[in-house]
Structures are given as C-alpha cells and as structure tokens.
C-alpha cells in the first residue's frame, strides 16, 4: 500500500497508527522481547487493516489489537520453545501460558519506544525505518515505498536494527536523567531526518514524499505533547511547521524547483505558519535557546515577509551568527554567507565562502558551488556564476535540483552572450 494522503484520511488508519505505540508498549512490558513484540504488533495491525473495514471498528480497538498481538506472541513463544526443544532434545511439554489480559497503556510508552528506536548505536537509516514502523505504525511496504527501496530490503533493515537493539541489551525503560538530554537529542535528530527526507527531493523524479514530512510532524507533535516543557522539542516542531507551510509553493506544475524568493507566497499555509510562530514564541520565552529554535526563528522571519524583498535579512544574519556559534556545521556557514551577502553585499558573502575552502565536509559537495554561483551572480559576474552553477549541476545527486542549476547557468549565458 502506498503512503498517500488519501490513505491517512481513512479514520481507522488514523486510529490504528495512534494505537500502535500504545499496544507495542503493553506487549513489550508483558513479554520483555522488543523484537518479537514489534513483529506481533505489526501483524495485529495488518489483521486490523483487513478486518476493521469489513466488520467495523471493534468497541475497544486497543484491547482488540492487544489481544491479537498477545496471541501472536504466544504463537511465537510456542514455536520458539518447540524449536529449542528440537535443538536440545529436551522432552516434556512447556506450554506458553496464556497471558492475563490486564494490560493498560502507560503514558511514557511512546517515549520509551522512541528512545529505543532512535538509539545512537543504530545507523540513521535503521533508526528512521524502525521509528516509522514501531512508533509511526507504518507497514514495511509503506516505508519501503516512501524510500524507494524494495520491501525485502526494508524488512531486512528493520530486522537488523531490532537485532542490534537486542544485542545492546537496552532495557525497556526511560533513560536515566543523565542520559536523557543526549538521548532526546538523538530522537529529535531522527525526526528531523525523516522530515528532511520528505521535504527535499532527494530521490526519484516525482516528489511524492510529502507524507514523510507529515509523519515527522505527527511524531514531533506526539513528543511535544509528552514533553511540553522541552523547548528544543517545541523548536523542532515549529521548524517543521514553518518549513512545511511552503510546500505547495516550492514546486511548479512540472515538479521544477521554485526558490524561496520566487515562490507565490499566497500558496503558503497561513494556519501552519501561525501555529509554528505561536509554538516558537512560547518556547523562546521559556529557557535557553537551542539550534532547532534558532532554525525555526529563521524560517519564521522568511514566512512573515509578505514579499521576498521585505525579508528582514539583518535579523536572519543575527540568527545565523548565533547558530554558527552553537554548531560547527558547514551548511550553517554557507547559509550565513548568503545572509551576510544580503545585508552587506555579495563581496562580503564571497569572502566568507573562502573560509570554507578546503573543508573536507564540503569537498565535492554541490552546495558550495551553488552558493558561490548565486553570490557571483549577485556581484554581477555572470560568466563565473554560470561556471559554478554548472559545476554544482555536475555534483548534485538530485534530478530536479540538477535541472534547476542548469537553467540558472543557461539563463545567465543567454543574457550575456545570447548563445554559447
């Protein structure tokens, strides 16, 4: 099944995905086996997706799912112990006891699951897949579709991730207060990556992955509900809302990229902007400012400009300066250079780019060429700009972006020497 906007409009699917982490929490606490419990809950969800539309949603859907998952677990334990019996040739009947059904969901279960799925021991790709399945309630097929890989590949990735968790011996409980900050940071990073995967057009000629962004927003909203006082959680949710608000304006009729300055701002989602700004303002009033809040603040400044030329660039420059002090990230330095150019002129921006020369993290990265091209164009050096746009086009791994960069180069050469 495809991850489509329509599918999440079906009420029972909403319900199923909301219940998935709750039921998984109950099953893990009862059986102490995360990997098997996760499989059991996935099977229960698939059973529900088949039966509920046909027979109607049961009166207590959570206990329906829990009972089915418990039964799957009992089957699993029976076949496991049968296998072990065969292996060790131990005689005698060891039946798995039927679990008593007294389980109730615990509020922190979803958070505990997120901490497990986003464990720093996992690769980002594994953590993303596992989070979408165990907490997001997506099927393996849906996740595979969203990442454009075969279902068997995604199934293997998820199963290996669960194996790593098993081997690491992480207990099913909230991290200690010392660990908590860092572990929450990993969770937020994974949600941020899911959002970006949906937002950027990194694979495939068609942009059909807005659903991943929506899913990231849903998960960030859940974390925010569970941790309402954490200002970076609020900052990340605000950043997602403020960025995603521009979704409809980002691409043209033929999926071509439309840069921020040329977007039809009437297509921006005002409601989402209002919500993002309110979240951010509340967070900024509370405590120390973190990088997600700063990025959200930058997005908010863009979103609040009625026209591109009304953008408050000095404000954006000041925010990037703060962000730069907080993180040693060359992408921040690139964006800072653009802001500096908008405030102090293209030369200033180009000088700042020179600081990045030789940074191994940007070696062969198309963004450095793309930004240099943009600033050279601002400085009126059209031919040099075209050269760097082409260099960027040769390096990007993204088809709509390559087309965009080639058009920029072509536009400049057409203007200067009307040909080539």
């Amino acid at each position: 099944m495809a991850v489509t906007a329509q599918s999440s409009d079906v009420p029972f699917e909403h319900l199923l995905r909301e219940l998935t982490p709750q039921v998984l929490g109950i099953v893990v606490r009862r059986f102490h086996d995360f990997a098997a419990a996760e499989d059991a809950v996935q099977e229960a969800s698939i059973a529900a997706a088949i039966q509920w539309p046909r027979d109607g949603i049961p009166e207590n859907p959570r206990s329906w799912l829990t009972q089915v998952a418990f039964r799957k677990m009992a089957d699993h334990i029976r076949s496991e112990s049968a296998r072990r019996r065969r292996e060790t040739e131990v005689a005698g009947e060891t039946r798995a006891s039927e679990p008593a059904f007294d389980a109730s969901p615990q509020e922190d279960d979803t958070l505990v699951l997120l901490f497990m799925c986003c464990h720093p021991a996992l690769t980002p790709a594994s953590a993303i897949a596992l989070t979408l399945r165990a907490v997001g309630g997506l099927t393996t097929a849906e996740i595979a579709y969203a990442f454009l890989v075969p279902e068997a590949t995604m199934a293997q990735r998820i199963s290996r991730a669960k194996q790593s968790i098993k081997e690491s011996g992480i207990p099913f409980q909230l991290p200690t207060s010392q660990e908590r900050g860092q572990r929450l940071g990993s969770v937020l990073h994974v949600l941020y990556l899911i959002f970006n995967e949906g937002y950027t057009t990194s694979a495939g000629p068609r942009l059909r992955r807005a659903d991943l962004s929506r899913e990231a927003i849903r998960l960030a909203r859940t974390v925010h509900t569970l941790q309402p006082n954490d200002t970076e959680v609020a900052g990340l949710l605000a950043l997602m809302l403020l960025t995603d608000a521009r979704r409809r304006a980002r691409t043209g009729a033929n999926d071509e990229l439309i840069p921020l300055a040329q977007q039809d701002r009437g297509l921006w989602d005002r409601e989402q902007i209002t919500e993002g700004v309110a979240l951010l303002s509340a967070a900024l009033r509370k405590a120390s400012v973190g990088p997600y809040q700063l990025q959200a603040a930058i997005a908010a400044v863009h979103d609040e400009a009625a026209r591109a030329q009304d953008t408050d660039w000095p404000q954006i420059l000041a925010l990037y300066e703060l962000l730069k002090r907080m993180s040693d990230n060359p992408m921040v330095t690139l964006n800072h250079a653009i802001a500096a150019a908008m405030v102090h002129g293209a030369r200033k921006g180009l000088d700042l780019l020179d600081d990045l020369r030789g940074d191994p993290r940007l070696a062969n990265h198309h963004r450095l060429d793309a930004v240099r091209a943009h600033l050279l164009e601002m400085a009126g050096e059209s031919l040099a700009a075209a050269k760097h746009y082409r260099a960027a086009a040769g390096k990007t791994g993204n088809l709509p972006e390559r087309n965009y960069l080639l058009m920029q180069a072509a536009r400049l050469t057409t203007l200067t020497d009307s040909g080539y």
Partner: protein, 131 residues
C-alpha cells in the same frame, strides 16, 4: 521480455548539454518527463533512473589485501551511462521502437538529438519461466 535502454555519453556530451540554452534544456526535460509517462500509460514501464554526471566516476578493483584500488582519470572518448529505462515488451522490435522514440528527444534548437541508445535484453529468472 524485458529490455534495458541505455543512454550513454562522453564527458564532452555531458559538458555540451550543460551549455544548452534554457529553452533547449526545458524542452528536453519536458520530453523526458512525457516519455516516462507514455511508458507508464502504455503498460510497459518497469524502471528508469538517471545517473549523476561522471566527474566523480571511479573504476574500482580489489587490491591484494581486498582494499579498493580506484582508477578515475578517463580519456575524453570514454562513454558513461547517463541513464536507463527498463521496459517489458512483447518483442525486440517493440523495444527498438521505444528506443528510437527516446533517441529523437529534442537537442539544441529543438532538433532531434539522435543520441545512440544501447538496447539489451535483461535476462529472466525462474519466475519468468512460470515454474
């Protein structure tokens, strides 16, 4: 039967494409998008991918210790895969027709670029034998 249609080009071909006019690039991009849609609509589409350009292309061989030995400076005349389509059709002739169609994609000035398209059959598996 499945066939792969491969579009190849030398570094010089890639460089000259990057210097086409805006209109010419737009026309070519639009053609490729429609072509893909046509393949879908006619029920023969299996897969298509465009590759990043070959500046960073490497040939890799295993050294004595199993470590990769990379080779990456290529003569101008070396051809690189730019992208491919896989189609599921009834005959080789149908695959040739589709290849000819994409070879006629517009080039500079809107004239057909006439890029050579390499057509090869993709070998089937047990599943295709109906076993």
């Amino acid at each position: 039967m499945k066939y792969i249609l491969m579009m190849n080009g030398t570094q010089a071909n890639f460089d000259s494409y990057a210097k086409w006019s805006k209109q010419d690039i737009e026309a070519n991009v639009a053609f490729m998008r429609n072509f893909r849609q046509e393949l879908h609509d006619s029920g023969v589409f299996v897969d298509t991918k465009e590759l990043a350009w070959p500046q960073e292309a490497k040939f890799v061989r295993s050294g004595a210790d199993g470590e990769p030995i990379t080779d990456g400076v290529f003569p101008e005349s070396k051809e690189f895969l730019a992208g491919y389509w896989i189609v599921d059709v009834g005959s080789a002739e149908q695959a040739y027709k589709i290849a000819a169609r994409v070879s006629a994609a517009p080039g500079p000035g809107g004239k057909p670029a006439n890029m050579p398209i390499e057509v090869r059959q993709v070998l089937g598996s047990h599943g295709d034998l109906g076993l």
